[in-house]
């Protein structure tokens, strides 16, 4: 008898549970909808104009999860790689401007590619509304360990005394590393051969193998070589604890050597104001969480939150630097 009673009791619990779940399923969504009548009511798409696995992609992946919790809708990543990021940014510029499509990008995909394009599909300063400057990865100028240059001054002096002797390596024409090479050459008034490589790995091999004398690459990718003593860092685009004591471009009188690889989020400038504001506050809330700083640092990004207004100024400044560098390299579209 007792077992039977227990069984009945269990049955009752099950029935109650089932009813509760059923109720939750029916009422739950309406409750959530009731809570937030405005934005967002459907999934948000984040366009990443690069293939999976890079700094921008990984950083976005880290942010998306808490952002989805914050906004209470799914936030999905769409990788649209190609043409140095232009395929993704163009797709983003043509998406419906309802605030449900965001973009996370670096300066080269959103500034440099546009300036090289004869028929630009968009102008990031007008068509894209900044949501947040998420973080930066400074660019560094490095030499191999057996190089005679100990400081940036050594390097400049040698370059001035021996025009055309120096060989520089960098990867991706029109990118941030290229901008650094060109602004060092024009700013310090030296002459150097410039050899483009296709990946930062190839640039590393060329520098370590002694095929080039100096190279530029993201600082975070250089840290292991600095630690092992295989390379020395002479200059960075922004001072960083990763390279203690190394001056930044503005420190040595080269203000244009200051284009970082930043990761920033945008929405379309025609997006509803409420949606834009909601995204700004949500991304800020996500980045305020201390564990995010930790996770992003691991992925190679120095978290450096800046709101829309400050971010907009950075976009304008970098627009001018790229404009000058691309002009010097003959890459600017006329």
């Amino acid at each position: 008898m007792r077992t039977r009673e227990r069984r009945d009791g269990q049955k009752m619990i099950f029935v109650c549970l089932a009813m509760a779940i059923g109720l939750a399923l029916v009422v739950g969504p309406t409750l959530v909808q009731g809570q937030e009548k405005g934005f967002p009511t459907k999934p948000i798409e984040v366009v990443v104009p690069y293939a999976p696995g890079g700094v921008i992609d990984i950083a976005t992946r880290i942010i998306v999860e808490p952002l989805s919790r914050e906004l209470k809708v799914p936030v999905v990543i769409r990788n649209r790689k190609g043409a140095g990021g232009l395929i993704g940014t163009t797709a983003f510029s043509q998406a419906r401007p309802d605030g449900y499509t965001m973009l996370t990008t670096s300066p080269s995909a959103v500034i440099s590619t546009v300036q090289q394009s004869k028929t630009p599909a968009f102008d990031p300063r007008k068509d894209f509304a900044p949501v947040a400057h998420i973080g930066i990865s400074p660019v560094s100028m490095v030499v191999a360990k057996d190089s005679p240059f100990k400081t940036f001054d050594d390097f400049v002096q040698f370059g001035k005394a021996n025009p055309g002797k120096l060989r520089a390596g960098f990867s991706s024409p029109g990118g941030e590393t290229h901008a650094m090479v060109l602004s060092i050459i024009s700013g310090a008034k030296i002459e150097s051969k410039v050899i483009p490589y296709t990946s930062s790995g190839e640039t590393t091999a060329a520098l370590l193998g002694g095929h080039v004398d100096w190279a530029t690459a993201s600082l975070v990718s250089r840290v292991p070589y600095l630690k092992s003593g295989d390379m020395r860092c002479l200059l960075v685009t922004q001072r960083s604890p990763e390279a203690p004591g190394v001056p930044s471009g503005p420190d040595v009188g080269l203000p244009s050597v200051s284009v970082n690889i930043w990761v920033g989020a945008f929405v379309h400038s025609k997006a509803p104001k409420a949606a834009h504001e909601r995204l700004v506050s949500a991304v800020k809330a996500v980045l305020d969480a201390p564990e995010m700083r930790d996770k992003l640092t691991k992925a190679g990004l120095m978290v450096d939150y800046k709101g829309p207004q400050e971010f907009s100024q950075i976009v304008n400044k970098d627009w001018d630097v790229f404009s000058e560098a691309l002009e010097a390299a003959g890459m600017k579209a006329k």
Binding site: G53, I87, A205, L208, H211, V220, P224, Y225
Partner: protein, 500 residues
């Protein structure tokens, strides 16, 4: 025997049950992704990457590596069964693998690939174990001039790939080279042959061309012939390689392994180039070169072994110097960073458990691939029992889905289709496809290395002969060209005799 002790330590890490499980998940997912259209390997990695955030670094990287081997073998399966190379490194496998399948010998082709990869993997792991740090440094001696001369040498093996007219082959090489110039110019960033089409800015991919010219062309060709034509022989002759197969493949596999390993260590070369070289060399050394391309097992065994050895050797520059030599390793690099590991010269010393754990798991991954895939071969072969009228439709669907999955862009599908038609016309007029694809793959490497060298030397060609390594390659290339012209006559006669 410190290295060996380290390897054993790595093995201990890798055979912990949970790591074995992650390896298993990786290999199974990889094989599935490689076989099924719709999700490419990079997309699969992207899907898997966030799930690895919660794992320990070693487990995460073991799982990701498993995905790589699985994906590679999945590409082999579709190459053999359907003539669709899922990955550029299995393009060569189509040449003889698919022909073997048509002769009812898909089983041995798949078997020799799995076992050959396993053997090559074993040897390559040993190589990585004992030579990694030294080799990584030695490979740095290769600058742009050396790569250029190496490419010239590789280009010469085109002469071995050709079955018929040399003139027609040279035309195909030229077309391949021209196609490879489409897209953004490396030096100036300017568009070449883009005509305002955004998708062409990145150039045409190897995979759309290969899928088009092999997979789709095959279907188009079958349309032109009588419906009753039996594409596949119904009788399946064995599931595993027989003794004769082993005898035929032993030496090619060994050579393929060594070649793959040596070239895989160079940071500036993808495994695809090595597989073509390996195929060309086997054809050159073979007693019956005229039968290559009609379904000989050496033509599958050598490049498959080479492919695996090259992929394993790719870990040498990755872990020795932090330089990824292919797309997959680049993603792996990103994964290492997410887990707080700094890829670079210090990785082996700072995190021996990761390095040796991955090396050991590469080995275990290979074993797992063999155990998993040998029993599956009869199942795969059953695919070929589907009537061709139905199978051809499936092949088309797979081709289109496969090319769409590359970058989720409908334009890639259009490009694939165009190359399908192009491949059909090319075949119709008696041109061969492999020289075009080889030239297309080598083209960008060749051009880049050449133009970089010219910047170094201020425009003097002497740079290629004054540097010893480069001079050596140029010399070999010249030698190859000479012998090709001398031997070509006898060879053409032999083909003609056989065709009569």
């Amino acid at each position: 025997m410190d290295t060996f002790g380290n390897f054993l330590m790595g093995l201990m890490v890798a055979i912990q049950p949970h790591n074995l499980l992650y390896c298993f998940i990786g290999v199974v997912t990889g094989t599935l992704v490689g076989v099924l259209p719709g999700i490419g390997p990079t997309a699969a990695l992207a899907l898997l990457l966030p799930t690895t955030f919660h794992l320990s670094p070693v487990s995460a990287i073991i799982m990701i590596s498993g995905l790589a081997y699985g994906g590679m073998y999945g590409g082999t399966i579709t190459s053999v069964l359907l003539n669709i190379p899922g990955e550029s490194s299995t393009v060569v496998t189509c040449l003889d693998g698919y022909q073997m399948a048509r002769k009812g010998r898909a089983g041995p082709a798949l078997g020799i690939s799995a076992l050959g990869s396993f053997i090559a993997g074993t040897l390559a792991v040993a190589g990585v174990m004992f030579l990694a740090p030294t080799l990584a440094r030695a490979a740095l001696a290769f600058g742009s001039p050396e790569y250029f001369s190496l490419m010239i040498m590789a280009m010469m093996i085109v002469t071995y790939l050709v079955r018929g007219s040399m003139i027609k082959a040279m035309i195909m090489v030229a077309v391949g080279l021209i196609l490879s110039t489409v897209g953004m110019d490396l030096l100036s960033g300017k568009d070449r042959f883009v005509y305002g089409v955004l998708i062409l800015k990145d150039g045409i991919g190897v995979i759309p061309i290969a899928i088009g010219m092999f997979g789709i062309t095959e279907v188009l060709e079958s349309l032109g012939t009588s419906i009753k034509r039996e594409i596949f022989e119904k009788k399946i002759k064995g599931y595993l390689p027989n003794r004769q197969d082993w005898k035929d493949s032993a030496a090619p596999m060994t050579r393929g392994t060594f070649l793959g390993f040596l070239l895989g260590v160079l940071p500036g070369l993808t495994p695809t180039v090595s597989t073509f070289l390996s195929y060309g060399i086997e054809r050159k050394l073979s007693k019956h070169p005229e039968r290559f391309g009609t379904g000989v097992i050496e033509g599958v065994a050598a490049p498959e072994a080479c492919n695996n050895a090259a992929a394993t050797a790719g870990f040498v520059p990755l872990f020795g110097l932090g330089i990824p030599s292919n797309v997959f390793n680049a993603v792996l690099l990103g994964a290492l960073m997410v887990h707080g590991l700094q890829p670079g010269p210090l990785l082996i010393t700072d995190h021996p458990d990761v390095f040796w754990g991955v090396v050991a798991s590469m080995y275990i991954g290979n074993v797992m691939l063999v155990i998993l895939n040998l029993p599956l071969i009869p199942f795969w072969v059953m695919v070929l029992r589907i009537p061709y009228t139905l199978l051809s439709v499936l092949i088309l669907i797979f081709c289109f889905l496969g090319s769409y999955s590359l970058d989720n862009n409908i334009n890639t599908v259009i490009i694939t289709f165009i190359f399908g038609v192009f491949g059909y016309l090319v075949r119709r007029f008696g041109f061969e496809r492999p020289p075009l694809i080889l030239a297309f793959i080598l083209g960008p490497f060749l051009e880049r290395a050449f133009r970089q060298s010219m910047i170094f030397s201020d425009g003097s060609f002497m740079i290629f002969v004054t540097r010893p390594i480069s001079a050596f390659f140029i010399l070999v290339a010249a030698g190859v060209l000479m012998t090709a012209f001398i031997k070509k006559r006898a060879f053409v006669k032999k083909i003609e005799a056989e065709e009569e």
